[in-house]
């Protein structure tokens, strides 16, 4: 369970999050959406314990993050940041094994976890390949596997909360579906999952609840059908939206046709 209470964050002189309170329950996926600069990644960084917060507090499994060491925090939550880079030629399984650093375990156990994580993202056949020979999408999946290896936790620990920052960049639609399935499975195993997404349709289909942010303020935080109403989206993005909640059994949310580019 992630519990943010009245969290404010400043970047330089600018306040980018204003006394935001949000909870992510165990087994739940909370998607965070909003325009660029709304404070989505800042919120994720604050919940991950990456940023000093100006006021309020962040608790993961009822532990205040600011009172814990880096290694203790790493046993409470896993993070998949937006664009990890690596200039050295590690093998794929070595990169994934970095996710097991917080845990004290025998190498056999560690390898089993790494293997399971690689299977989950369908990269197990590439385990011995050098990281730098992978495509952008494959690298993205390796980092996802690293976060999964950490999220798997260890015996005697509550499931780790997992924070995904825009994990669909660089991926084709089929791979996006694959990643979202992985995200869902993590929550189904009992973890609290927060995911920052740009794509509103995916947010509507994946999440149990959606937090819509604008200028560091929440416009809505509710199940997708309520949070992603056309009026809320227009207020967030300044563009009118078409929301079809029963498009072939799923939802489709897109800016209104007249506002999308038309062929001359």
């Amino acid at each position: 369970m992630i519990d943010a209470r009245g969290v404010s964050v400043d970047r330089g002189l600018r306040r980018v999050l204003h006394e935001l309170s949000v909870q992510v329950r165990d087994g739940e996926v909370l998607a965070v959406v909003g325009p660029n600069g709304a404070g989505k990644s800042t919120l994720l960084a604050a919940l991950a314990g990456d940023l000093p917060i100006r006021s309020g507090q962040v608790l993961v499994h009822e532990h205040r993050l600011d009172s814990l060491s880096a290694s203790a925090i790493a046993r409470l939550r896993a993070v998949l940041p937006q664009t990890p880079t690596l200039a050295f030629d590690y093998l794929v399984h070595e990169v994934v094994a970095l996710g097991r650093l917080p845990f004290d375990e025998a190498s056999v156990e560690r390898e089993a976890q790494v293997r399971a994580a690689l299977h989950a993202v369908d990269m197990h056949r590439a385990a011995e390949r050098p990281y730098l020979t992978l495509s952008g999408g494959e690298r993205q999946r390796v980092h996802l596997a690293r976060a999964l290896a950490q999220a798997a936790g260890a015996d005697g620990l509550a499931p780790l909360a997992v924070l995904f920052d825009e994990p669909l960049g660089n991926l084709d639609p089929a791979q996006q579906v694959g990643v979202l399935q992985v995200v869902r499975r993590v929550a189904d195993r009992g973890a609290a999952v927060l995911i920052v997404l740009h794509d509103l349709t995916w947010a509507a289909r994946l999440a149990d609840r959606v937090l819509v942010l604008r200028d560091g303020h929440p416009l809505a935080c509710a199940p997708p059908r309520e949070a992603l109403e056309a009026v809320v989206l227009e207020a967030a993005f300044d563009v009118p939206f078409d929301c079809d909640w029963a498009h072939g059994g799923g939802s489709v949310l897109l800016p209104r046709t007249g506002f999308t580019p038309q062929r001359a």
Binding site: D50, P84, F88
Partner: protein, 358 residues
């Protein structure tokens, strides 16, 4: 969970290769020491070596009358130890700098860390008294190494602050900062030369061409504890350095206390490089060549790379020093000239290969 046929362990070939390389390096180290002790203007046959080494223990009075024992104990043994320790420290420092700066081209010489140490050492030589008064006299041999450490520490800290403003430290920024620091240090040494007296001038000129020719038991006695502290600080950082290569934020995500790791690495690198520069002058490229060559065999993982650099760096400088005083004997080429001759072209090749990468 795991599919059938998955029971093979990861990295089997890598582990085998690592084992072979470590066996080879550990086997070569004693051979290189024997070669360094035997070779020289007065060759000592390996069969005589044991007797010459044992002379001080058996009959200390004989040492003056036995040229081989005297050469061995007064010159070659301290020189071999100093060369090995200096090479080990430079390679280990380079390897850690590459990890902390997340850049395979980071070398203490190119980044200006060595120059920072040399300026501080030169300042100590010119401006501080050669011996301290009274009970402090015992500390006199530590003045120059202490100053060199402070200089190396200043530059390393400065570089780290310059490089951490961007998410990923850019190689151009780092190397250009290195050029600026090197130029500044060159100017400072130039200024010190103009005010130095003759004796100081002779000592100063020793810095421009790095060499272990001045090795004495005092210098070994200074470098060995420095080496021990640097090893204790740096070797346990292997896993943290692996994680740090992903980025500071990502390292924190997997539980690394980044500021502590960076502090320990900075002090360890500065101690190693500062201590080495104070006692041997500027010996370039060891910190670049050794980790680079080892990485091609061991892979980038620091758990093998750090101890590998200690062995490999020690071995390289010991062999280079033995070659530098025997190949064109009786002329002795400063070992810094030799390492730069090998390292310069290698660095260019490395730059070229990185440019071809996507």
């Amino acid at each position: 969970m795991t599919a059938a046929g998955d029971t093979l362990r990861f990295g089997k070939t890598g582990r085998a290769r690592r084992r072979v390389l470590f066996l080879a390096l550990s086997g070569m180290a004693p051979l290189a020491v024997i070669a360094a002790l035997c070779a020289g203007a007065l060759p000592i046959a390996p069969t005589q070596l044991v007797r010459a080494l044992a002379t001080p223990m058996i009959s200390p009075a004989d040492i003056a009358g036995d040229p081989s024992a005297h050469i061995l104990w007064a010159l070659r043994l301290p020189r071999a130890l100093l060369a090995f320790a200096a090479g080990a420290l430079l390679a280990l420092g380079g390897c850690c700098a590459q990890g902390v700066f997340r850049n395979p081209l980071a070398d203490p010489g190119l980044l200006g860390i060595s120059s920072g140490a040399s300026v501080a050492a030169a300042t100590a030589i010119v401006l501080l008294p050669t011996s301290l008064p009274g009970t402090l006299a015992l500390l006199s041999p530590w003045l120059v190494p202490g100053a060199a450490f402070a200089g190396a520490m200043t530059v390393t800290t400065l570089l780290f602050h310059l490089s951490r403003h961007s998410e990923r430290p850019r190689v151009q920024t780092l190397l250009l900062s290195g050029i600026a620091v090197n130029a500044l240090c060159f100017a400072a040494v130039g200024a010190l030369i103009t005010i130095a007296n003759d004796a100081q001038l002779r000592t100063l000129s020793f810095w421009t061409l790095g060499s272990v020719a001045g090795a004495t038991w005092t210098s070994v006695g200074i470098l060995v504890p420095i080496c021990a502290i640097a090893l204790v600080l740096l070797l346990p950082q292997a896993r943290a350095l692996d994680a740090l290569l992903l980025g500071e934020r990502e390292a924190r995500h997997v539980g690394i206390d980044v500021p502590r790791v960076v502090r320990r690495c900075t002090v360890g690198i500065a101690l190693g490089v500062g201590g080495t520069v104070a006692l041997t002058g500027l010996i370039g490229f060891v910190g670049l060549i050794v980790p680079h060559l080892l990485r091609s065999v061991l892979g980038p993982g620091h758990r093998a790379l750090l101890p590998g650099s200690v062995l490999g760096g020690g071995l390289l400088l010991l062999l280079a020093d033995t070659a530098s005083r025997t190949v064109v004997a009786p002329i002795e080429v400063p070992v810094g000239v030799l390492t730069a001759t090998i390292g310069g072209p290698l660095f260019l090749a490395l730059l070229q290969s990185r440019r071809e990468q996507p």
